[in-house]
Symmetry: C2
């Protein structure tokens, strides 16, 4: 692919601005690099413009809105949470299908035709759309004719999330899982073999002994049941119960179960974790490595479009190719229209650290990473009270108060108040004084916020990154409103709304969380890209609803005689009914999700599966075992592996370099802009102090507006950026090589750039 104007042509233009088309093309490349898109779009100017439109945030938000709408239809279709006439969700789905088709057509116009048809995700999308439409027509016809109809295509809906252009991370996660499967499969075979052997032994040992379980049912009486019972034992769900009859018959039989648990529960499950951890990490690492290569490749393309040769640099040979400041600024504004002027200046000074007024390829390539670092611009503003009535605000008592509020003891005092509050919350609400104390606590919290607002400039106080300030204020205000409403209801009719009380209680307890500052430490873990659990849950929920809907139901009135067997005589006297699991059913999508979460937690899943097997067929157990293998053995292990990895990263970052190389550069520069802010934590306070008391507002030495930057060092705009940081250490050596020939692996053939 070549750009529309050749490098030589552009070089002749010299310092002049690039054409609009070139800038748009370059901005498409940079934006792709920034968000790690890997799309081979057509480089003709109209296609580039269409492509920029395709990547507009609004278009993407709309797309995800319709996907969400499509997914949420499960709540309104049979079996429904909110029953609607059958045509309503079908109409909505038709609308969604139209949107998806439109988006696909748009995509087809942007990229070359052969690329479009070679890409499996497009084929998948078309297939999903076609199958869904076919299913809707068949279902509609059957439904109109009054026959039994199955909406099987609903299982395909989560695949939309995966196959949509934006579903890059999900696709990557699935690819990693698929690549890791062969290794997992080897261990899995061995694991199954171990279970089969142990089951055979159990059958031989116990079947002839006429033992009974505590329910009186036969004990290890046939092979299939023995395998199932021992599989459940791996998950520990039937742990001592399955052993007790044998153990009662002879203490030595405990050895059999202890060896079984040691081998299958402890060793095999750890090995599964190890295999999953190892493989998933390895493949994901490889994917991210390719991602980084592709990013550099795209940035190099953008550079090739914008580059010029400086004649005045060295001798006659044209010098090295550079990008001028003017073009760079226009490019940045095209890529990120909402960027502030100061931020652009900052980025430029980082890129052009020698002050040449133009940057070379190496510095230009960094742009995508630079744009991904969240930089907060803090404008120094005087407190409005200081402007409105300066005499009062700067008086001695006011200054003393402000110093008091800033003092460490103030925070400590409020921590103490929170602890006392916790004790009061624990006390019985109906005791005299306890209810009144709540008002006192509310007043104290309100006072705290007001005092802080008196000290800190309000817009700084409510800056986007001041999470705890927002949290405090919202919680306290909500609690105030809810408490007032509750008190009003109580005094008016003596009637207390349970719902409002619930909200009040939850808000009250949530206030206590503020004591913990260390939650920050775990932010990386919270940001950890979650493996595609939701997709799997949705598929299993929909499949479960088709398989098990209406097989048993929950009666609100516990006195109803049908409640004892969940309305299904097949469940009479079963453990399922006795433990009151009637609400664990597939009768709507919400119940199905809650049930799947319970299966994920594993405990008692054999009771649940036996319940559903009783009302349908023994083979129903397969559904539950499949869910266990998919979610607990594979997906949960991947989750744990990721938490481990994220934790190790967090840990090592804590000790060594907290900031990446790029962030450090900005840090240096920030110090150049505002050196008086020594402590990062008290940045806003320090600014306020410096401006409000020592200098007149709005007048700094240079005449420019006084600005400060703060890096949200651990937050990333995209999960990709986090992932890349996860594997940064391994990628560093390549970073130097940057596609050079000495790359030993040579897997990725770096295309050569015309000008470089």
């Amino acid at each position: 692919m070549t750009s529309t104007s050749s490098p030589d042509e552009r070089a002749r233009e010299g310092q002049d601005a690039q054409s609009k088309e070139d800038l748009e093309l370059a901005s498409a490349y940079v934006s792709d690099a920034q968000y790690n898109r890997n799309i081979f779009f057509d480089t003709s100017p109209p296609a580039v413009r269409l492509y920029l439109l395709y990547n507009r945030q609004l278009a993407q938000v709309l797309l995800y809105f319709f996907i969400l709408l499509d997914l949420s239809l499960a709540a309104f279709e049979e079996p429904a949470v909110v029953p609607l006439p059958a045509w309503a969700p079908m109409l909505a789905e038709l609308l969604c299908l139209h949107v998806f088709a439109l988006r696909l057509v748009h995509y087809a116009k942007v990229i070359p035709r052969d690329k479009f048809w070679k890409d499996p995700k497009n084929i998948c999308m078309i297939a999903i759309l076609a199958l869904t439409l076919a299913d809707m027509i068949i279902y509609g016809a059957l439904h109109a004719a009054g026959c039994y109809a199955l909406r099987w295509s609903r299982v395909l809906r989560p695949l939309l999330l995966v196959n949509v252009t934006e579903g890059r991370q999900l696709r990557r996660a699935f690819r990693s899982i698929r690549n890791a499967l062969p290794q997992i499969f080897t261990v899995f075979l061995l694991f199954i073999f171990s279970i089969l052997i142990f089951s055979l032994m159990a059958l031989k040992l116990f079947s002839k002994r006429d033992l009974k379980t505590s329910d009186g049912s036969p004990y290890f009486s046939n092979y299939a049941d023995a395998v199932f019972d021992l599989y459940v034992l791996v998950t520990t769900a039937n742990s001592p119960d399955v052993m007790m009859p044998a153990y009662d018959a002879g203490s030595a039989f405990a050895v059999f179960f202890i060896v079984y648990i040691l081998v299958n529960t402890f060793i095999f499950m750890s090995v599964f974790l190890a295999v999953v951890f190892n493989n998933y990490k390895k493949y994901l690492k490889e994917e991210v490595r390719q991602l980084v290569r592709a990013k550099r490749h795209k940035m190099a393309r953008a550079f090739a479009v914008l580059q010029e040769r400086r004649e005045d640099d060295g001798g006659g040979g044209g010098g090295e190719p550079l990008v001028s400041r003017a073009n760079w600024s226009r490019l940045v504004r095209l890529v990120q229209p909402d960027i502030s002027h100061a931020h652009t200046e900052l980025l430029w000074s980082v890129s052009d650290d020698r002050g040449r007024g133009a940057i070379d390829k190496r510095a230009f390539v960094q742009l995508a990473d630079l744009l991904n670092i969240q930089v907060m611009t803090l404008k120094s503003r005087p407190h409005p009270l200081g402007r409105l009535c300066p005499a009062f605000y700067r008086s001695a008592p006011s200054r003393l108060l402000r110093r008091l509020v800033r003092h460490r003891a103030f925070a400590a005092a409020y921590d103490l108040i929170i602890v006392i509050n916790a004790v009061f919350i624990g006390l019985d609400e109906d005791k005299p004084g306890v209810g009144d104390a709540e008002w006192a606590f509310l007043a104290l919290y309100l006072l705290e916020i007001l005092l802080k607002l008196y000290v800190v400039e309000p817009r700084s106080f409510f800056a986007a990154h001041r999470f705890w300030n927002w949290f405090d204020t919202i919680i306290v205000v909500c609690a105030l409103v809810a408490t007032v409403v509750n008190a009003a209801l109580e005094s008016s009719g003596g009637y207390t709304s349970r719902q409002i009380l619930d909200i009040v209680f939850i808000l009250r307890v949530l206030r206590l969380i503020r004591v913990v500052d260390s939650i920050k430490r775990f932010r990386t873990i919270m940001n950890t890209p979650r493996p595609p659990r939701q997709v799997v849950y949705y598929v299993f929920a929909v499949a479960g609803m088709e398989l098990f809907k209406g097989r048993g139901k929950f009666y609100e009135d516990a006195g109803d005689p049908a409640a004892a067997d969940c309305g299904n005589p097949l469940l009479r006297g079963s453990v399922f009914a006795r433990l009151g699991y009637c609400k664990n059913n597939f009768n709507n999508v919400v119940n199905a999700f809650v049930l799947l979460v319970q299966l994920t937690v594993v405990n008692q899943w054999h009771v649940l599966s036996s319940g559903f097997a009783a009302v349908t067929h023994k083979a129903a157990r397969i559904y539950f075992v499949l869910f266990h293998i998919t979610v607990v053995i594979i997906i949960i292990n991947i989750f744990v592996a990721f938490v481990l990895e994220a934790f190790f990263l967090e840990y090592s970052l804590d000790k060594s370099d907290l900031h990446t190389e790029l962030e450090k550069k900005i840090e240096e520069l920030r110090l150049g802009v505002a050196q008086e802010a020594a402590e990062e934590d008290n940045l806003v306070d320090a600014m306020e102090t410096a401006d409000g008391e020592r200098r007149t507002p709005e007048a700094s030495e240079s005449g420019e507006p006084k600005l400060m930057f703060k890096i949200a060092s651990k937050r990333y705009r995209t999960v990709d950026a986090l992932l890349q940081r996860l594997f940064e250490a391994d990628l560093e050596e390549e970073e130097d090589g940057d596609g050079d020939a000495h790359d030993a692996n040579g897997n990725f053939a770096n295309p050569s750039f015309g000008a470089a």
Copy 2:
């Protein structure tokens, strides 16, 4: 510490042999280095001799025998598995104490007095002995007087294992745990805080709603119960049950429990694993690093004792210090008396790779590692049949048979037989034909072994490393004996012994395991040093026996009315009794161990703890929560961490260099000795073929006996060696430095050696 004769003196002796004292001192150093002992023994000749005696294997075996005896006394003391008069175990314990005291006195004679009293493990041992003696006297007196007496010192017994000189690994593991505790504690506090906050919320939400659990007991009615219930939910043991009343009352309450499980079960438990993994590994790594340094230091000491200067080497300056072959050989024979001459030769040729007849310090230091590599000497022997009746053995049909047995199809045919056998085992024993088929299978297996013996020289077939041959033969012979005994019993009186049948069945199923060859892959995991679980189990078992003995008992006769409440009216109608958990008690040490294993598996542990709380006091739950924190949160996580680490090691070794550097050298040499054995797997076969058919026996070219070596590359004599290999990659840079000044850390001040 200086050795008895100065290096100069020894240098004057030239090529002559060293004094016996010097050799003994050197051998003590080498043996310490080999087994990673870190003992500052007295270097005077009598002390060295005493020290060598102290390290004799027999002395250590006896010591461990008495420790085991002491530990096993728990089975004979009240509450006893096998009741004995009270004086019998006390007499045995007195004997044990004498042995331990004797061993301690021996140790005190070996090391300098000030070192002895500075070592905490000696102080601990003396304290344990004194406390145990005091306890025995008090208990004896109280028992004689008929008062209630408590044998509390039994809790101290496992500490013997830790504080005995040989308990190095256990001490290291405990040190690592202790060092990791502060980090774990931080997370633990946050975890407890989270539980407390959620409990408070649950109390506020549910206590006023008058909900009942499925037993009809109150639901989240007070704070302590709420905390306990939610703690149990973290372990997933009461998973859906604790949620059901709230979920039945309103579907939205499911959100509370789902968030709780996500935060506390999934995230916090993963973080625990991560923290434990990270810290334990880090500290253990540091310990092993010091171990390696100490080892090199000791080898350098041994070298300093034995070194001589070669006059004939270079100019007049005395040349570099060397150790002669004669001294080296005598040293090796002193350190490892059972070593074969050939093995010594091999080790020497590895050390002296330039053939100088003497080795320098660098080569000498490797000796400890070389001795730790298990080298198997394979003597090539002709088949006895070939010697006895060569005409028959070398006839065409015999050779065809031997080729057949060696063919791949032979193994495949037997794999098929095993599979068919598995099906027959699964069939009902009483069906006609099934019992007879077993005889056929036995005959087939016997035939297989005989055929293999016909082909392979018997001593090679039963070599120590031929695990599967041993396994097969033992299993088949045992099965044959048991089946014959069983058949004899059956035909004589029609009476079948259940025990013998059990053994027959287990043996039959065990035979099937042979199909799996890949078990080899997991050997490293099996060899993984287990964290000191047993010690913790013993302490908890003894403590539990004192706390809960006799609070409920198991009745063999289920019809006994007392069986319904385990003989304790307090348990009447409890879940504990209803599920038939009566045998889960602390009435003897075996039952206590089985119960603790069940608690480790976690499921239903709240039922067990509630049961014991019902018969004693609510505070009894503390015992169970403590056990959960100690074993499940800390020790199991360490176990998982080690499996992960071992797996990663196994995995990376698989891909890159399978043999360590040292092993490679031997490998090269082995090829030099016997080049015809190309495939390692068929080594014995190839040897047999080569010798038996192409050459006359006992006559090889060089006149020396024909030998081959095989390295048991993945087996280690000591766990320390495995650990060192685990961290080999990290230690490699130091390996080059070897105590040089450029060691950046400088933590370990390497003493300078007089001569080096």
